[in-house]
């Protein structure tokens, strides 16, 4: 869209075409996203009603030994006496309103349970994402095209962190910085200090992958003619890397957003357990252990929603910053 200015008389057409394309991209992506969520919801419905025997018994918890009277009451309450298609449509209707059902164990709604825990997880995920991206950009920019020794060293370190299971990263950080140096608390949700180690535990494996990708694309960019032009103008190396190289090299990083978000959601499960923090991950693990099916499926549907929304945003940003990209 930057080329528009040069062809002033037709600018409005180009502009309208660009806007039209953006709308089409959004429309297609929105539709795909809705189909994914609908499919996920249908699978969740099948899982809850098809596989698991009597949902009324399940709703009462594993240890319940109810009378037929109580069971009938539950069936009425949950609409389990209705035919399956009525139940299915009711279920979809409730989901559309953000009603994910009732937890079997917690005696609250799934939406409330998620709502109570989401803040802590978002805080952790955001700080981890910022650390990961900053680390990747700094290390990637500093080490691109620096000769074989630096390249092998950073590749090796990145390989170690990308291969390490995130609980191993977290444990290593705990042993080093909590038990040996006593810099940070071992666990908990109190204050910034308790956020540092979990954030790094989640960020390091992601940063390892992002660094390699960023450096590879930066090395491609630094071979372009316009970099040579900038250098012949007498621009310093650091300025060339940051002002010219980084700008172009960042674009492939945007495609990794889905991977990063998935990594953060999965990472939260491990990290919150390891550092005994409140959050969605802990909620999920407790629910899996207690076989609290509505919570498990609720968190999974929530993850799918996050994935769909994030990818929609990424696609829009992508089409907006790089008009060359054609979307199917």
């Amino acid at each position: 869209m930057t080329a528009v200015a040069s062809s002033a008389p037709f600018a409005f057409i180009r502009h309208r075409l660009a806007r039209h394309r953006l709308v089409r991209v959004i429309g297609v992506r929105l539709l795909t996203g809705v189909v994914v969520l609908w499919g996920a919801a249908t699978l969740a419905f099948l899982a809850m009603h098809g596989v698991k025997g009597d949902p009324a018994l399940a709703a009462l918890g594993p240890d319940a030994n109810p009378t037929p009277e109580v069971l009938r009451q539950i069936r009425l309450e949950y609409g389990l006496d209705q035919p399956w298609y009525v139940q299915y449509l009711t279920y979809l209707g409730r989901l559309a309103h953000g009603d994910l059902g009732q937890s079997y164990v917690l005696r609250t709604s799934v939406a409330t349970a998620i709502g109570q825990q989401i803040g802590q997880t978002v805080q952790l995920a955001l700080s981890a994402a910022i650390i990961a991206v900053v680390l990747a950009v700094v290390v990637g920019t500093l080490t691109a095209k620096r000769g074989p020794v630096i390249r092998s060293a950073t590749s090796g370190i990145a390989l170690v962190f990308a291969s390490m299971p995130s609980f191993a990263v977290g444990l290593a950080l705990l042993v080093a910085f909590s038990f040996t140096l006593h810099w940070f608390p071992v666990s908990g949700n109190q204050g910034l200090a308790s956020l540092v180690l979990p954030s790094f535990a989640m960020a390091l494996p992601i940063a390892a992958v992002l660094t390699q990708i960023l450096r590879a694309s930066l090395e491609d960019v630094l071979e372009q003619p316009f970099i040579l032009t900038a250098r012949t103008r007498g621009m310093r190396d650091a300025a060339v890397r940051v002002r010219h190289g980084l700008r172009h090299a960042l674009i492939p990083l945007v495609t990794m957003t889905g991977f990063v978000v998935g990594g953060l959601l999965g990472g939260a499960v491990i990290t919150e357990t390891l550092f005994v923090r409140q959050g969605i991950g802990r909620l999920l693990i407790n629910a899996v252990q207690a076989k609290d099916v509505p919570i498990v499926l609720g968190v999974v549907l929530f993850a799918a929603l996050v994935h769909v929304v994030v990818n929609l945003i990424v696609d829009i940003v992508y089409t907006a910053i790089d008009p060359r990209i054609e979307t199917a």
Binding site: A47, A158, L171, I270
Partner: protein
């Protein structure tokens, strides 16, 4: 990032690592030798733990409770006084089985779905693709947790869960390969020569579509080992006192402030296995690539 998640991460990483490492294989060969040696040791421990282990992995000795490393017990002993080195050696089998078994499930399931999506009629393709979209929208660890919720907490369901969770990524890879191979000259030639559809698929499409899978599956074994260990760590996989690496680590976590070795040794063993598998997988990738060109 969770370990299950890192399956995708490792695949992405290995692609870029491979790109970075291309043309400098000589530089990496000491690393490759070390990685192969370590994997050989792990496989040996998995096949014949009795040959290597100095003690019984389940033998309890109260006098040795949380003993630090010594000559008789190089890795020390755990909270019940069991020799940690022997437990690690006996744990290689379950960990390796987890990696190979889960990857096999992922590869077989992924190949079937990928072939269906790549070669099936349009209607089936659409259904399979949307199904894969759902799978790819949910982090692998979360998919694995759903399987465990409905299955139960055991080594078997952990393996099944990690395997099922990896199916969508393998299926996506296979489909992309099938679509690429489908339009090549030799497939066209075979069809023109009058070979049946099934013959073309089995003789030409499948072998060529599966070739890049070898590298991904190798690296996937490492990721699956890490994912299985993560589930054990969460208390959802192998249950104590079974000497599985993730389970050893999970129990050792309770003693982390006093005996760090109980946690660090299994963590290092798992990490080294994943790294070695990745390094070997990348080498295989370089060799197959070299042969093709």
């Amino acid at each position: 990032m969770s370990a299950a998640e890192s399956a995708e991460g490792l695949r992405v990483a290995s692609r870029t690592f491979g790109r970075v490492a291309r043309g400098r294989s000589a530089l990496l060969s000491p690393g490759l030798a070390l990685a192969s040696l370590y994997l050989l040791l792990v496989v040996l421990a998995a096949l014949a733990p009795g040959l290597l282990a100095p003690h019984d992995p389940l033998e309890v000795n109260a006098e040795l409770t949380l003993a630090p490393p010594s000559l008789a017990h190089p890795f020390g002993a755990d909270e019940s006084g069991r020799d940690l080195l022997s437990r690690m050696i006996y744990g290689a089998g379950p960990s390796l089985l987890m990696g190979v078994g889960a990857t096999a499930i992922g590869v077989v399931g992924g190949t079937l779905l990928g072939l269906l999506a790549g070669l099936g009629p349009r209607a089936i393709e659409v259904v399979v693709m949307r199904f894969l979209d759902i799978g790819l929208a949910i982090p692998e660890l979360l998919l694995a947790l759903v399987v465990i919720t409905f299955g139960g907490r055991s080594t078997f369901f952990a393996l099944l869960a990690v395997g099922i969770a990896s199916i969508p990524s393998y299926a996506r890879l296979i489909r992309a390969q099938v679509l690429a191979v489908k339009n090549t000259g030799y497939v066209e030639a075979a069809t023109a020569l009058g070979e049946g559809r099934l013959t073309v698929v089995v003789r030409h499409v499948l072998p060529n579509a599966l070739k890049p899978l070898i590298v991904f599956a190798t690296i996937g074994v490492g990721a699956a080992i890490a994912a299985g260990a993560s589930l054990s760590f969460l208390g959802l996989g192998s249950q104590p006192p079974s000497p599985e690496w993730g389970a050893i680590l999970a129990t050792g976590r309770n003693y982390i402030s006093t005996s760090g070795t109980l946690v660090l040794i299994p963590a290092v063993a798992i990490t080294l296995t994943v790294i070695s598998v990745t390094v070997v997988g990348r080498a295989i990738g370089r060799w197959t690539e070299g042969r093709r060109s």
